[in-house]
């Protein structure tokens, strides 16, 4: 089986590229006033066209757009912008990738990451930058120079926020305690007034 292609930039260069990207990493970009807010849809559309060599479909672009103004969504937007900046590195954008690879990164990987890791970590924590790089390269089927596929997986496992969150959250006692609290609240609220609905069910 052929080895995955390698990106023509070492990890250090990609880390520096991310760290020196003030615009997408700034908290204000995805959350700030409308005039200063990045047009995430346009950024992703440009990137997709560059990487996949065709126009992105509306459903994909809609999935990348902000869907509400809550902190989770604003955080996701910042991760998307950071990923877009990373993939704009000349060593990446010179190649073409399958639609499914780019789609999976933006539709599945980044939302899961954004659900557990604040994008501020990109500014303060080199490990978060490395995680974004390694997730993105894995999604696109690329390896870093001089690194085997196994080594890449091992290293990603060490910096994997989503898996770390899963392990901590599923620690039996913690999860059970949280569930019990939610269910107590459910029972308590069941005795209180509901909200009006228009139909029977």
């Amino acid at each position: 089986m052929a080895e995955p292609p390698r990106v023509a930039a070492p990890l250090a260069e990609l880390l520096r590229w991310l760290a020196e990207a003030p615009t997408p990493l700034s908290p204000g970009m995805a959350a700030g006033p409308p005039g200063g807010r990045a047009n995430v849809r346009a950024v992703v559309a440009d990137l997709y066209e560059t990487l996949v060599l065709r126009t992105a479909d509306a459903a994909f672009l809609r999935a990348c757009e902000i869907s509400d103004d809550g902190p989770l969504e604003r955080n996701r937007q910042r991760w998307i912008l950071a990923a877009a900046h990373l993939l704009w590195h000349p060593a990446v954008r010179g190649r073409s990738f399958p639609d499914a690879a780019v789609r999976k990164l933006f539709v599945q990987e980044l939302p899961a990451l954004a659900a557990v890791a604040p994008a501020d970590g990109l500014l303060t924590d080199a490990e978060r930058r490395e995680e974004l790089i390694r997730r993105s390269l894995r999604a696109l089927g690329l390896l870093l120079p001089g690194e085997s596929a196994e080594a890449a997986e091992d290293r990603l496992a060490q910096v994997d926020s989503v898996e770390r969150h899963r392990l901590v959250a599923t620690a039996a006692e913690k999860e059970k305690r949280a569930r019990v609290l939610r269910e107590e609240e459910l029972r308590r609220r069941a005795a209180e007034e509901a909200a009006s609905k228009d139909t029977r069910e």
Partner: protein, 512 residues
Amino acid sequence: MGEREHGPEPQPLGPGPVGSAAPLSPSPPSCPTDPTPPAPALASAPPLVSADLRRRNPLLTEAGARLLRALLEHSDAPRWNYRCGDLLTSTDLRAIEGFRTELATLRCARRPGPPDDALLRKVAGLRPRVAWFRRRLPPGADLERDWDALPTTSREDLAATPGDLMPDDSDLERLVVHATSGTTGHPVLVPHHPFACSAYKPLLEVALAAYGIHPRFGPEVVGAFLVCAQAHTVTYATVHAAWRDAGFAKLNLAPADWPTPESAARYFDRFQPLLLTGDPGSFAEMLRLKIAARPLALVSTAVALQSGLQADLAAAYGCPVLDWYSLNEVGPVAYACPRGFLHVLPHDLHVEAVDAGGRAVPPGERGELAATGGRNPFLPLFRYRTGDWGRMVYEPCACGDPMPRILDLEGRAPVLFRTRAGAPVNAVDVSRVLRPFSIVQHAFVQRADLSCELVLRPAPGRPDPDAARLEHALREIFGPGIAISVRLDARLGLDAPAGKVVAYRSEVGTRA
């Protein structure tokens, strides 16, 4: 279909003299003079907005408060036994407006297979935050590629550990709970959110628009009466900010709920709701009581609407009678278009028909309906088995609605009956026989000795279904050598949980 009128011209709805509204069409009932003196002219009095009322209806306007007071204090008002508001905040209202806009632009043709990217993205974001997702979705699974192999959730999951289906970071401050019992009688607590409850309204608007109906809601009209006909149920009146403080009341037609035998008819007459929602049994009771109304539409929910009763109601009230498929856990799922096909309503709900193992069945084949997505932040659905069965089809419908259709919806797992020779008979075949009749509910059972009994609750005030004709039709389906009996029971379902009975049951042990 041409545009329908938008309802009666707005007029102040103070408690004013009862019976002052114009005569009704198509067949105005007798409306005796109200024996009680008119209520004081509350329309001009300052509305009383207590702290409790403000909590229930945070966005209540003065006009809305006047309407609510009129609904509550009318001399023919029922004996209210519950208090309830929409609990909507201005943020919720903006979200509902956004949802309305999305519905207008994003209801488009779908393909069989995994959900679209927007929904996959939502699920991906929930994956680390919901205990059930963490435990049951394999960490390496690709939601799109592996969709068909991913596990399903069910009513049993919700009944046993509802807390596992709620996101870790749920802000429980806004939590409301709706209890549901279905036909099993086993109660389930469904976590709900005020926004998700009021999001029914834009969905109703989409369904009504398919019939050319575009109601004008505001504090000068009553938007809807939810009509029940049960021994006991909660009754309340409120106004809904998502319909610009239009009035709303949940009413029970049981005589004991009303001050006088004529009160219900006069209350309907006085407030002239633009819409009536309710189950077929309640609408049938309206017919029996000769309650006149001039709604723009009737929206029939909860149990299957037989086309015979549908035709009777449409004739009596001079408006379309929409069949509406909605579940407490899921919210509105589908509505019947003017061609009679059930279309999936929300753009943010992925509906698939799955087999016993959770794999999607091919388009057009019968399976249990499972739903993913929705907009209830406390209960994000993941392949939630509804307990209802049907066939998904994706071809365009002549009505023009591009969303997929659900054919042959049945509220239970498919039940196979047997002829004497052992050939299968599907419950759907029996349903087809029943359709032309004016029936509220039915219960069909095949006993272990293969004999069949059909019990019908006829629509009150309508000619009874022809039992001999039904027997004959069933004999044609089941063939020779099987005893078939048909009887009418006007009380069928009245004492059952939520008024619903199990429509099909086999004691032969041949479930599909």
